[in-house]
């Protein structure tokens, strides 16, 4: 059986960064990708704005991916494309993977695994919309694939439900290609996409954003003919008197992303119920020894720069992995914080900066972020604003706080002390 040190599942930005970093740290690496080309979702994200944090440039998705793909192939790392991982078994020698592709089935034995499987879009079935089931209901990512890769226009007159970033990007993209985008409807009272996307995708083209509104019904037999929209109250209940019919042929959904963790679940890896990604320590190792997670499989990111960063963390640590016994302190979200990644601190691992990703639960202007260890404050940072759509990154050297196994590190917002 073929043996490697690190197998990376997924060839998007997280997987590419993980494979490159693992290789640079001396590991024999295999990357497995189910599509024909590396690059993941970046292949269809032809808009610019990628890489500002990492490269200080506004790159398009394919350009950002190309930098990593080029480095990956220059380093001679092995990739199997058009290949699916159909089973992962834990054996005494490592993880035995069953791979299926056009050549048939093969097996690989890998010391460690990096799950870089990305995320999936929430579909129409997962949001409660009444009515018929005509053609014309697409997720934003599907519409993006049609327009940007297949060169096919899915809409003439469309309504967008949800103000996630891909929905905003598609509002602009469809407008540029000649479709009429009638409006973006968002059930929450604040936008769920990045502020700059609201500006450059909606404001620039005069596309209205209706907050606290949702689509309640779909009409049409073969093709969609209209949707019914309505305002919602503070409990997100539909206000009947505000219902109105909008004629359109397409409804685009941008209603959230869910990390894809079927392999992790099949291995019994513990998943964080909030992030829907595996619970990890600071090396992005899951609670199952030798299995790592990164990118959007770990938690949904808004910037690819951080996806790559998490891939590198996972890649570096997977390459160095050596059956070490781990003991944990927990990192928990406190007041005002939706989640943190990582959720555990491996106390057996000495020192070094720990990168902590978190999101706030709601919009804060002038917030004081506090980190406590067993309720004793150890670290504070002021923020001019915190918004749920914008993930924050902190780098803290926890070694100085003498954290022991079983301790609780809490990340919270001090609302009283901010001003």
């Amino acid at each position: 059986m073929k043996t490697v040190d690190v197998t990376v599942i997924g060839g998007g930005p997280a997987g590419l960064a993980a494979a490159i970093e693992a290789h640079k740290n001396g590991a024999k690496v295999l990357l497995v990708e189910r599509e024909a080309r590396l690059g993941g979702i970046l292949k269809q994200c032809i808009h610019d704005g990628f890489g500002l944090v990492r490269f200080g440039e506004k790159l398009t998705g394919p350009e950002y991916a190309h930098r990593f793909i080029k480095e990956f192939s220059d380093l001679g790392i092995e990739a199997m494309t058009l290949t699916f991982v159909t089973a992962v078994d834990r054996t005494s020698e490592g993880y035995a993977l069953t791979l299926v592709n056009r050549n048939g089935m093969s097996k690989v034995l890998s010391k460690t695994l990096i799950l870089a499987t990305g995320c999936r879009e929430r579909t129409a079935k997962q949001v409660f919309i009444h009515g018929t089931r005509p053609a014309g209901v697409y997720t934003a990512g599907t519409a993006q694939n049609f327009v940007n890769l297949c060169g096919v226009m899915p809409a003439k007159r469309c309504v967008i439900l949800g103000s996630g970033d891909i929905g905003l990007i598609m509002a602009r993209r469809l407008t540029l290609e000649g479709a009429q985008v009638l409006g973006v409807y968002e059930i929450q009272s604040t936008p769920s996409g990045l502020t700059r996307n609201i500006h450059q995708c909606l404001h620039d083209y005069g596309i209205p954003l209706h907050l606290s509104h949702t689509v309640t019904r779909v009409f049409g037999h073969d093709r969609m003919t209209a949707v019914e929209v309505a305002q919602v109250d503070e409990n997100k209940a539909v206000i009947e008197s505000t219902k109105q019919i909008i004629e359109c042929d397409t409804l685009i959904l941008s209603v959230g992303l869910i990390p894809e963790n079927e392999q992790a679940e099949s291995l019994g890896i513990q998943i964080d119920p909030f992030t829907k990604g595996p619970i990890c320590d600071q090396g992005l190792q899951t609670l199952l020894d030798g299995v790592f997670s990164c990118g959007n499989a770990l938690h949904v990111n808004d910037l690819v720069d951080y996806v790559s960063e998490s891939g590198e963390t996972a890649g570096r640590n997977a390459a160095k992995w050596a059956h070490d016994y781990r003991t944990f302190a927990s990192i928990e979200p406190g007041n005002g914080i939706a989640y943190t990644v990582p959720q555990r601190l491996n106390t057996a691992e000495a020192g070094g900066d720990v990168v902590l990703y978190f999101r706030s639960k709601k919009v804060y202007e002038k917030a004081l972020l506090q980190v406590t260890v067993n309720d004793v404050p150890v670290y504070e940072k002021k923020y001019a604003h915190l918004k749920p759509p914008e993930m924050e990154r902190l780098s803290i050297d926890f070694a100085q706080y003498d954290i022991k196994t079983g301790d609780t590190v809490k990340v919270q917002i001090r609302e009283d002390a901010a001003k």
């Binding site: 540029l176 808004d302 001019a384």
Partner: protein, 118 residues
């Protein structure tokens, strides 16, 4: 007073622009780029156009492209219209020019994907 969201970086600063008889005054930016963005937005807003062009290659019906630099916002639809009538017949690589000096903007249309060379 006018409010703008800076789109230069992910900080997305809210910029306040006060207009008076002498011109305008910007506040709320965290860095100089924000100030420059506000000035540009008030005088001559610029954007990068990212889109696709049709190709003659059946396995790659469209190739992603962008303007090599920012162009005046008012030119976006003129450029889109021009590109809609364009058909790519050469296998060009990432960064290579598809159309030079698009619509007299001094910007080129360049390929952003290397798929035709793979």
């Amino acid at each position: 007073m006018k409010e703008l969201i800076c789109i230069v970086c992910p900080n997305g600063c809210t910029l306040h622009i006060d207009t008076d008889s002498d011109g305008f005054c910007v506040s709320g930016h965290k860095c100089k780029k924000g100030l420059l963005f506000a000035q540009s937005e008030m005088q001559d807003p610029l954007r990068t156009v990212c889109t696709t062009v049709r190709t003659v290659f059946p396995e790659t019906p469209v190739l992603s492209v962008r303007t090599s630099k920012e162009i005046p916002k008012s030119k976006i639809f003129e450029i889109m219209q021009h590109l809609n009538g364009f058909l790519l017949t050469e296998r060009i690589g990432i960064g290579e020019t598809v159309i030079g000096n698009i619509c007299g903007t001094d910007a080129d249309i360049i390929a952003t994907d290397n798929i035709l060379k793979e």
